[in-house]
């Protein structure tokens, strides 16, 4: 039997290049005659362009071209909505997508107005200073709720209001559930904005080579093939004339799945000038020009029985999409769907309104709205547990779906337009294990002892699910080369997830080779030109399954050819350690390298119906996504004087189906939790009432550092997905999703003597300080209920 690589903690194939500084990132691309672009962007959140005088910039030495919307001509049109909304009944959706360059109106700070092309970036930025732009300020719509007021300034003057979308999804009869409930818990929750914070900013190098008749574009995109398709359509080129390369990408986290105006403008400039041109977003620009994550306000209600059983949930929420909605409704639908969590929810009424504001655009960022749903349901369950005197672990256990409930149809539609149906799950073991690992039983004593010493410890333990691995499809081509190297090529882009290793592991098992000898190529449309991209925690699930299928097909070819050449039955052959041999006669067989050469003869007859080489291309498309799940638990200490919270221990027990590489999965979890900690406590974009962002730098916007992120204990539970041959589920976003909910519960627990309730995220030290001040003014009492309305029928 061959060695099994699937499930092994294999070191990564991509690391040597990255560690040696040899991996190619977009800004590393250097071409003869390369020009450099810099953008002129709006300083105002809302304004009308009175005049734009580019003459001084054009006259600046070293400037090669200066372009505005007018120069772009027919190209300056609003692009399509990238992800059309699912077919939900009565859905209202107003698509408003940005122009590549603003023509007469700007709708958020940082909206691009003109682009300067020069011999160096320094010169381009100098010339940008010479642009004479007269912007007439218009009243901006900034705050989410206020933007829906009847007298709010209109972000899009052709619409009657700032309503971008209105969606209702429901199942069961919530009104009846409310009537039957022993308690109805009602709260208002807020979740504020942040950035994805990839360490590499966006960048594009475009090169139209007229001799070759080919447009090559190096792009920090998570979706190279859709970008290729869009560019070919835009410029009237054949798709085979456009090569989009997503080389090594310095973190994606969602915003790099978007298709941005710069991705049209840079290729267009190269087509105009016949020279290659580069644009690398700077960090300040990224705070405005790269899409951000989501601000929401939920008015939510939980109807429960006295024993804590959920009877129904009612939720109405507002979602801030910023100035445009090019990514459709993916984020709020994720919030809507993920709210149901791992629980049995017999009735659900969920209504959301998406709102235009004069702020940067919101599209998916790691978690993509799922954390909001988790925050709402987990916080409601915490409140219910408190009201009903039920243990917080117990109330979750009582409401979990049971293993025999799968597949479980939630009777609403998910973001991929498929029914929200969970494929498989087994939730209670993760909860029990997490409770054990965090020391749940012993914690009250630990907490009391700490309180006696004047320290405030709190524990949080919450559940989540994550819809992952959605379609439509991905593909892969696997080739055994005459050198013996196995090559795997797939269309997805890679941003650090370890694709070069996990795809190699998947293929290595089928072909009996060492994954170190499997060379993986991703994200180059010349290498593989079918696919959609890396998003929704789908790489391992969808592309991984395609790699598996292609490797299986090659395995079959190996056996067929070896059987023919050795004149033995395929059943008598085995494949291991790079050789196909007759069972029991290890000297009788072929190295794969030799077999690969035999499969591609230079002379002689090839049998009819035979394809040359040991190569196969396969595709995989799941009917719907697979649902991963897990439990996060933490213990933290709050200093009521400074309002700082320090996490003392953190436990994740998660289920992403069958694990391909535990080291890589744990790495994904660690990084997700760190991002979640940032979201929960440190990271917040501060917009003032004029729509100006006051903390647009890494000096002022606080990403967690090594001193803020605790050691994380991660354990795996494996409930295979029935939806793909590998049994895997996605894990890329999981770590980030439940952190805020766990954090909030732990803060409340730690500060129980003050009776505060956490209804907002991020809960910065400042906000926590305010909550403490307010609570202190009202004299601390044990278990004092929060300030929100509470309905007891």
């Amino acid at each position: 039997m061959s060695e099994r690589w699937f499930g092994a903690p294999v070191v990564r194939n991509e690391d040597p290049r990255l560690l040696a500084g040899q991996a190619l990132f977009v800004d590393d691309v250097q071409l003869p005659g390369l020009l450099h672009a810099a953008f002129v962007r709006s300083d105002l959140a809302h304004g009308r362009i009175r005049s734009l005088d580019l003459s001084a910039a054009r006259a600046h030495p070293g400037v090669v071209g200066v372009y505005s919307a007018e120069d772009l001509g027919d190209l300056c049109i609003a692009g399509p909505v990238l992800v059309p909304p699912p077919p939900i009944e009565r859905l209202e959706f107003h698509a408003r997508t940005p122009l590549p360059l603003a023509r007469d109106r700007v709708r958020h700070v940082g909206e691009a107005i003109a682009v300067i092309v020069a011999e160096s970036r320094y010169t381009a930025e100098d010339a940008a200073e010479a642009v004479q732009l007269d912007l007439e300020p218009l009243d901006p719509a900034v705050a989410l709720e206020a933007a829906l007021a009847p007298d709010a300034p209109l972000v899009h003057e052709d619409l009657a209001s700032n309503l971008a979308a209105h969606v209702i999804q429901e199942k069961g009869d919530y009104r009846a559930a409310r009537e039957a409930a022993d308690r109805v818990i009602r709260r208002r929750f807020r979740y504020d904005r942040g950035v994805s914070g990839a360490l590499e900013n966006r960048g594009i190098v475009a090169w139209w080579d007229p001799h070759d008749g080919r447009l090559s574009v190096w792009d920090t995109t998570q979706a190279p093939i859709p970008v290729r398709n869009a560019l070919a359509a835009t410029f009237g080129l054949s798709e085979s004339q456009v090569r989009v390369i997503a080389p090594f990408i310095g973190g994606g986290f969602g915003p790099k799945i978007m298709f941005y105006g710069e991705e049209i403008i840079l290729p267009w400039i190269s087509l105009q000038l016949g020279r290659p041109v580069k644009w690398i977003e700077d960090r300040y620009e990224s705070f405005f020009a790269t899409t951000q994550e989501r601000e929401q306000i939920h008015d939510a209600e939980l109807a429960v029985a006295a024993d804590g059983t959920i009877l129904g949930v009612h939720d109405e929420f507002l979602h801030d999409t910023g100035a445009y909605d090019p990514y459709g409704l993916t984020v709020p639908i994720n919030s809507q769907c993920t709210l149901l969590g791992p629980y049995r929810v017999p009735s659900y009424y969920s209504e959301f309104r998406v709102v235009f504001t004069n702020k940067p655009i919101v599209t998916p960022v790691r978690g993509a709205g799922r954390q909001h749903g988790v925050f709402v349901i987990e916080r409601l369950l915490d409140a219910a547990a408190g009201e009903l005197g039920i243990d917080r672990v117990e109330i979750r256990r009582r409401n979990y779906l049971d293993p025999e409930d799968f597949p479980h149809d939630h009777q609403i539609l998910f973001q991929d337009s498929a029914p929200l149906t969970y494929d498989s799950g087994n939730y209670a073991p993760a909860l029990e294990r997490a409770a054990d690992l965090i020391g749940y039983e012993a914690f009250p004593a630990e907490q009391q002892k700490a309180r006696d010493d004047g320290r405030h410890l709190g524990l949080g333990i919450v559940s989540y699910v994550e819809g992952t691995g959605i379609g439509p499809y991905e593909g892969a081509r696997v080739t055994v080369e005459p050198s013996g190297t196995v090559s795997v090529v797939t269309g997805v882009g890679t941003q650090g997830q370890g694709h070069f290793t996990v795809f190699a592991q998947v293929v290595a098992d089928q072909l009996g080779v060492d994954p170190a000898h499997v060379r993986v190529v991703t994200g180059d449309t010349m290498e593989f030109h079918w696919g959609t991209g890396t998003f929704a925690s789908r790489g391992a699930v969808v592309a991984g399954s395609a790699c598996h299928a292609a490797a299986q097909a090659v395995r079959e070819k190996i056996f067929r050819l070896a059987s023919h050449l050795l004149e033995v039955s395929e059943d008598d052959l085995e494949l291991a350690h790079g050789r196909v041999t007759v069972k029991g006669a290890p000297d009788h067989g072929f190295d794969l390298s030799e077999l690969a050469a035999r499969a591609n003869p230079l002379r002689g007859a090839v049998r009819p119906g035979t394809e040359p080489g040991l190569e196969a291309t396969s595709y995989f498309g799941p009917d719907r996504g697979s649902t991963a799940s897990g439990v996060h638990a933490l213990v933290l200490e709050v200093d009521p004087e400074t309002a700082l919270a320090k996490i003392l221990r953190y436990v994740v027990v998660h289920d992403c189906g069958v694990v391909i590489n535990p080291t890589i999965v744990e790495g994904q979890i660690h990084g997700g939790v760190a991002l979640g900690i940032g979201n929960a406590f440190y990271e917040q974009l501060h917009f003032d009432e004029s729509g100006q962002l006051s903390n647009a730098s890494f000096m002022d916007y606080l990403l967690p550092t090594a001193t803020e992120v605790p050691p994380i204990v991660a354990e795996h539970i494996e409930t295979p997905s029935p939806l793909n041959p590998l049994g895997v589920k996605g894990v890329g976003e999981a770590g980030a999703i439940p952190v805020a909910a766990a954090f909030a519960q732990a803060i409340e627990d730690a500060l129980a003597p003050w009776g505060i309730e956490v209804l907002e995220i991020p809960l910065s030290p400042q906000r926590l300080f305010d909550l403490l001040e307010r609570a202190s003014g009202e004299s601390p009492t044990e278990g004092k209920p929060g300030e929100t309305e509470e309905v007891t029928p």
């Binding site: 040597p16 190619l24 370890g498 744990e666 000096m699």
Partner: protein
């Protein structure tokens, strides 16, 4: 803008160049010398991705002008491996899965190499402290700390 002639020693090799006084050291290394292993993440000295060694000490190359390196010796990530063999700190990062997208990694490696020279047997807190000068969005830092610990245990030169 008038140009200034500079001469620097980078990874053991001599380099001369005529540069604008305002040219950042990071841009000089990346775009003039083609040493693109040094990355730029924030352009104002916070993220640490652009860290290189200047006369053996870690510096943020986005906060220095190329002219400030005139006559001095620089080491970048490309200078760590010897004869194609990864430096022990690089190997430890691979073995401990201390990198994901790898963008912040070169800067962290440079800081850690200098740190372990000064402090061959660091405490966990010292490791955490030195790594906290860098931003990483992928790893959650845990395996970076493990990698530094591993490199120290193995007795990195």
């Amino acid at each position: 803008m008038s140009l200034v002639q500079i001469r620097v020693r980078v990874n053991g090799g001599e380099h001369e160049g005529d540069v604008e006084p305002r040219l950042l050291l990071s841009d000089f290394l990346r775009h003039e010398l083609g040493l693109t292993g040094t990355h730029v993440g924030c352009e104002h000295g916070v993220c640490g991705a652009c860290t290189v060694l200047l006369d053996g000490e870690p510096v943020r190359s986005c906060l220095l002008f190329a002219v400030q390196a005139n006559g001095r010796e620089l080491t970048t990530v490309e200078g760590l491996a010897e004869d194609g063999d990864l430096h022990p700190v690089q190997l430890a990062f691979r073995d401990a899965h201390g990198l994901q997208c790898g963008f912040c990694t070169p800067g962290i490696l440079m800081t850690v190499v200098a740190f372990l020279r000064e402090q061959p047997s660091p405490s966990q807190e010292q490791i955490r402290d030195v790594v906290s000068g860098h931003l990483c969005r992928c790893t959650g830092y845990q395996n970076i700390l493990e990698a530094v610990k591993l490199a120290a245990e193995r007795g990195s030169p």
